[in-house]
């Protein structure tokens, strides 16, 4: 059995995020969601940061939660930029980053969502 150890950044990082507006009636579609992410990167890292490739792998409109994919070297930048976003279109909002992992499988089932039966 061969063991491979890799010391670089993982090729991709996956983030499970959700967007919350202070006003609960606001809902955004996937294109607006991508614009919000781009605005966050633009304000923190400028045009160079906004050009970083970020893919939305899955998006749920009702809960405004998504799974994002970004290159491993830019994961920290994306995480920081999302955390520091406080306004979009003059509406107060916040990104909640639930889970970050270099493996997509880890987002599929995480021990945070385990329901232990309490009897």
């Amino acid at each position: 059995m061969k063991r491979i150890v890799s010391k670089d950044d993982a090729p991709y990082y996956y983030l499970k995020v959700s967007l919350e507006f202070e006003d609960e009636t606001v809902a955004v579609d996937i294109l607006t969601f991508r614009t919000v992410i781009m605005k966050a990167m633009m304000s923190m890292y400028g045009e160079v940061g906004a050009a970083i490739q970020i893919d939305i792998l899955k998006y749920e409109g009702e809960t405004m939660s998504a799974i994002l994919r970004v290159a491993g070297s830019s994961a920290v930048k994306l995480w920081g930029a999302l955390t520091l976003l406080s306004y979009y279109d003059e509406k107060p909002c916040a990104f909640r980053v639930h889970q970050v992992s270099p493996f997509l499988m880890a987002l599929a089932s995480s021990s945070r969502q385990l329901l232990m039966s309490t009897v």
């Binding site: 990167m41 304000s43 890292y45 400028g46 045009e47 160079v48």
Partner: protein
């Protein structure tokens, strides 16, 4: 010894219509270029870039006649500055308008003295090129005189005690 190390970027401002003297309001000179650099770094690299660059950023030298500018930044963030300088597209003229310009980066040095030595050598090389562009005999003779003056090498004083062997 712990100290902040800097890099000094020497750039030449080029205007589209070959202005001879960049007329800027005298006291606002350094601030105008500083503001231009800071704005372009904010646009390209965002708040992160501004936060990294501003502590060490300063305009050290401006020569209106040769249009040379020298900008200082911290050594670790040199790439932020050198990647942002080519994107400066206009500088304000004194009357509220904007002049189209381009900052051509000539040299990056580790100290002001190193940049100055390079600049002297660069100007020596550029003078003959300017001679070719001179029109009129009077201008040409003045150019030749300044080239001659700039290339004079100090003569070593004769050593009185040495014996001269006739060759």
């Amino acid at each position: 010894m712990v100290r902040f190390k800097h890099r000094y970027v020497l750039a030449e401002i080029e205007f589209g219509n070959d202005l001879l003297i960049y007329n800027l309001v005298q006291q606002g000179r350094r601030n105008v270029l500083y503001a231009a650099v800071r704005d372009i770094v904010e646009q390209l690299h965002g708040s992160y870039g501004i936060g990294l660059l501003t502590p060490g950023l300063s305009v050290k030298y401006i020569n209106e006649y040769t249009r040379m500018v020298m900008v200082r930044c911290r050594r670790e963030h040199l790439k932020l500055l050198t990647s942002a300088i080519p994107f400066i597209k206009h500088l304000p003229d004194g009357k509220g308008g904007q002049l189209l310009c381009f900052l051509r980066t000539l040299h990056v040095g580790g100290s002001i003295r190193a940049c100055q030595k390079w600049l002297i050598q660069h100007n020596r090389q550029v003078l003959p090129t300017l001679l070719l562009r001179c029109t009129g005999e009077e201008e040409k003779s003045r150019m030749r005189k300044s080239i001659f003056d700039s290339n004079i090498v100090k003569e070593e004083p004769w050593n009185a005690g040495s014996t001269e062997t006739a060759t």
